[in-house]
């Protein structure tokens, strides 16, 4: 049998829909499995007002089954057996004997009648629906009532053409759905087969993929050169049921405002796509996506145009007002802007940033760091918070700061995410480092390190940004030096560093562990060593050699060997003499080699190491011989593990 479930709700926030669908699918499959029902989830999909699941191949019910109930031991006698039989609702002669290693027992094969799928679903679905996770839920039927993301207004639950009856939050399940809020009228009875088509006729595309395509097709039809914007496209896909793009325009004189501001208004405030001219510049057009079929009378277009004009007017007003005071004059105002209650004002933060930026990037960086936060006092940033930094950079430029300085201010919040690029200039990188490091050091110094999922100051992102700038900007500096000796902060960075190399760069975790074990103060060097390991690892000798090093380390550790000097005269066995010679030779070769070359050369020790373990017993009866062998192994370990601790490599 097929099964259709539609949870009809008031408009669900766009960004919560996909995770909820994923869970709906998983939980429903788990429900079938837990009740020994066949069937698979064919699809889940959604619009703002409905979460829908399609399943097929459901059995009509559970098959009947038998359950073996163990009773008293045979030795307990017929009285006990009678009691057991009675309790099971059976007669004495219906009992079986169960033989176990503890003896013989009375037993009864109880018939369990299977339940129908309809009954099982009716019982389980209310819970399944209410257990869907949403980041912020509400109640609506009264205190103590069910919680969901928004009120549930109808439920379609159809199993093989029949309604699965249940009640949830005062809503009875049925076969009735609803179309577009205004382009469709009244309740719509549906079946599994005609559900999508019925909705389509009533101006609802229940498939997000189809809505997305309708937006893209609409844009193509408008002939608009829209800048690709996956995030906005995703939002629009999930706040509409019948999306239709239209094009509007604004007075070209507004193009005098910085592109960043215009795009911010269009994109973030109005959820419109900006349109580019052939030369890549911003055009005075935009694309809005409506939730109705058409705008033949141009009503929606002119409405949007008026709102945009008002918004741009505001922006122009902010720009003009802000130019009345230079950024450099605003710096002192930062004394009145709190950075954080325990950490003082932004002026204090700026002063600390200047000092650090000076060390890292010299005069330009210091100048930029001093001005970087001044835009927090501007009207433009108060209105468009997301443009902080960018606005400062733009203002610095028109106020005559050098392009090195203005560019550094413009980019100093970068990278905003792990996908974002780092500031494009060394000066910008220095300012970005100074800003983020200051935030981190300050917060850690007053005990505001992130705990669990709580990270109100986005310190993880800040640290990740530092790591990314240092590595991708090629900063050969001492990270621990920058962290000022705060052990907790060092631990925090170590985690971020591992995260960066594993998750962002895709290195294997054992390689990351091996390389970091021998030091991580210079993170660019860590990267170079990782690249070397990655390159050499597939070669024939590397992993066996790593195995050999691990064995050496185990032996040395188990013997609690601490110090001791190798005495060449005490080497007697052929294999150990050879290993010593190979190591001596290798030592000479390593001079001036790159990391990959060194690793390849070290891997060349493998035959000698293999032979050594094959022929030589380290734990020789003679104490002095044993100590000498341990000394040799310890020496090899320390000498050839400067690139990576090979014993951390997980082998075959």
């Amino acid at each position: 049998m097929n099964f259709l479930l539609e949870i009809g709700a008031e408009e669900i926030p766009d960004w919560m829909i996909e995770p909820a669908l994923k869970q709906l699918s998983t939980d429903f499959a788990a429900l079938l499995a837990a009740n020994n029902l066949s069937g698979t989830v064919k699809a889940v999909d959604a619009s703002p007002r409905r979460l829908t699941l399609w399943a097929e191949g459901l059995s009509a019910g559970q098959s009947d089954s038998e359950e073996l109930v163990t009773g008293p031991p045979k030795s307990a006698g017929i009285g006990a057996a009678n009691g057991f039989a009675k309790k099971q609702g059976a007669t004495l002669d219906a009992l079986d004997t169960l033989t176990t290693d503890k003896g013989e027992y009375f037993a009864y094969r109880k018939k369990v009648v299977g339940r129908t799928t309809k009954v099982i679903l009716a019982e389980a679905l209310p819970d399944l629906i209410l257990k869907l996770y949403f980041p912020k839920t509400m109640y609506w039927t009264g205190k103590g009532g069910p919680r969901f993301i928004r009120p549930i207004r109808w439920i379609v639950a159809l199993l093989g053409g029949e309604v699965v009856n249940f009640d949830l939050a005062g809503v009875a399940s049925g076969n009735v759905t609803y179309g577009h809020r205004r382009l469709s009228k009244g309740p719509l009875p549906v079946t599994f087969e005609n559900y999508e088509e019925t909705l389509r006729k009533n101006y609802v595309l229940v498939r997000a993929g189809q809505r997305r395509q309708r937006i893209l097709d609409g844009i193509a039809k408008l002939g608009a050169n829209v800048k690709t914007d996956e995030k906005l496209l995703h939002v629009l896909t999930y706040i509409t049921e019948w999306p239709t793009p239209i094009m509007g325009s604004f007075d070209a004189s507004y193009l005098e405002l910085p592109k960043e501001v215009l795009v911010m208004v269009l994109r973030h405030h109005q959820k419109n796509f900006s349109v580019e001219k052939a030369d890549g510049g911003l055009s005075n057009q935009f694309v809005a996506v409506m939730n109705i079929d058409n705008d033949n009378e141009g009503i929606v277009r002119s409405g949007n145009e008026r709102v945009i004009k008002a918004r741009f007017n505001d922006a122009k007003f902010f720009w003009d007002v802000d130019q009345q005071r230079k950024l450099s004059d605003r710096v002192q105002d930062l004394a009145k802007v709190t950075f954080q209650a325990k950490l003082g004002s932004y002026l204090e933060k700026s002063n600390r940033m200047v000092e650090l930026a000076q060390q890292l990037g010299g005069e330009d960086a210091a100048r930029a760091a001093g001005l970087a936060k001044a835009d927090l006092t501007t009207e433009m940033v108060k209105e468009f918070t997301d443009l902080q930094g960018i606005v400062g950079g733009l203002y610095a430029k028109v106020q005559g700061e050098s392009s090195e300085v203005s560019q550094a201010i413009y980019e100093h919040y970068k990278p905003l995410s792990m996908e974002d690029s780092i500031p494009s200039t060394k000066t910008g990188q220095a300012v970005g480092l100074a800003d983020k490091l200051d935030t981190l050091k300050s917060c850690f110094s007053v005990g505001m390190a992130p705990t669990g999922s709580k990270d109100p100051f986005a310190l993880r992102r800040a640290a990740q940004g530092v790591v990314k700038i240092l590595i991708e900007g090629g900063w050969r500096v001492s990270l621990k030096g920058l962290l000022g000796g705060d052990k907790q902060l060092e631990e925090f960075f170590l985690d971020r560093l591992k995260h960066y190399f594993r998750e962002i760069r895709g290195f294997k975790y054992d390689e990351v562990n091996a390389v970091i074990a021998t030091g991580w103060d210079d993170v660019v060097d860590v990267q170079d060593r990782l690249l070397a390991i990655q390159a050499v690892r597939p070669t024939e000798n590397f992993e066996p050699l790593a195995g050999g090093f691990k064995r050496m380390k185990n032996i040395v550790t188990q013997a609690k060997f601490t110090t001791g000097k190798l005495d060449v005269a005490l080497l007697s066995d052929e294999a150990e003499i050879e290993l010593h010679a190979a190591a001596e030779k290798l030592r000479g070769q390593l001079q001036g080699l790159s990391y990959p070359e060194s690793l390849a050369a070290i891997a060349g020790l493998r035959p000698a190491v293999d032979k050594f373990f094959d022929k030589v017993m380290v734990n020789a009866p003679d104490q002095s011989v044993r100590n000498n062998r341990l000394a040799m192994l310890a020496g090899l370990l320390s000498e050839f593990s400067s690139i990576a601790d090979f014993s951390e490599i997980v082998t075959g």
């Binding site: 008031e10 912020k136 809005a288």
Partner: protein
């Protein structure tokens, strides 16, 4: 095309037809319709209530001397409270837009997530901003908590921004060009308010006096809240007066803010002082209602 006042009449009539009490504006300074006792106190407790009223709402920091076409120090809200929320509440709301002449088959209406919160009132709710052709015209909220108290019946709060809505309907680009009554524009009625209000709020309001007023009202409100527990005959205890002093505190705070007299650091602390009073009144109010 409807005049400003005609649109108002229609909206009031629409909600009156659906059983709402049509109230007049509260006779004190408030920052939003939500702060009126008709909302703040009525949403508490187990009694159903339905009310609609226009509330002039003061936000001193938003003043622009009457120069800005869209920003006002004092704007008008139509506030609708439906407690408990009817299941077809969004249908009813959309019907109200159609009642004032908006054909929703030809306009783009979207509900975008926007959860409302007022730290000053210890109140929050879940809801949307309603966007019409790209303009926010209404805040729609399912109240969850008020004065720190979980609400027994969940009310829907519908707040229409009247100037925006009518400017939109009349197709004018400045709220001052809204035709209010025959021969009178919004400018004729309200410009002086905006100009002089801005001058006073930004330039002349006496900061020391405002701090004193804040302290006086805070003290009086707290005295009343403290007296409630030990008072015989709870029904007649003047919690409404206690609440009015909270409103006075809130307005003093807003004026101080407009004067730039409250640093960012102080801000949180002052908001917490007002919230403490609001929570105190709300809790006592719930007890008092239970006595009836």
């Amino acid at each position: 095309m409807d005049l400003y006042q005609q649109t108002l009449f229609k909206l009031k009539q629409y909600w009156a037809d659906r059983g709402a009490i049509i109230q007049e504006p509260y006779d004190m300074e408030v920052g939003a319709g939500t702060m009126c006792p008709e909302t703040f106190l009525r949403v508490l407790g187990p009694k159903p209530y339905k009310v609609a009223y226009v509330q002039p709402s003061r936000r001193p920091a938003d003043g622009r001397y009457g120069d800005n076409p869209n920003r006002l120090y004092k704007h008008q809200q139509l506030q609708v409270i439906l407690k408990p929320t009817p299941v077809d509440v969004l249908e009813q709301y959309m019907g109200s837009l159609e009642a004032i002449g908006i054909d929703l088959t030809k306009h783009d209406l979207k509900l975008e997530e926007d959860n409302w919160e007022s730290p000053t009132l210890g109140a929050w709710g879940i809801g949307w901003q309603v966007m019409l052709d790209g303009m926010e015209i209404t805040q729609f909220t399912y109240f969850q908590q008020c004065g720190g108290v979980d609400l027994e019946l969940v009310p829907a709060e519908i707040t229409y921004g009247l100037e925006r809505l009518t400017a939109f309907l009349q197709g004018v680009e400045s709220v001052y060009d809204i035709q209010w009554a025959p021969g009178f524009k919004y400018r004729d009625v309200r410009y002086n308010d905006e100009l002089q209000g801005s001058v006073y709020n930004f330039e002349m309001a006496d900061v020391d006096m405002l701090w004193q007023l804040f302290a006086l009202h805070e003290k009086e409100s707290q005295r009343l809240i403290d007296g409630f527990a030990g008072y015989e005959g709870k029904r007649r205890y003047p919690l409404l007066a206690a609440y009015e002093h909270v409103l006075k505190c809130s307005n003093s705070f807003n004026l101080l803010d407009a004067r730039g007299a409250i640093s960012v650091t102080e801000r949180v602390g002052v908001i917490a002082r007002v919230r403490k009073l609001a929570v105190g009144v709300a809790q006592a109010w719930v007890l008092q209602e239970a006595v009836r």
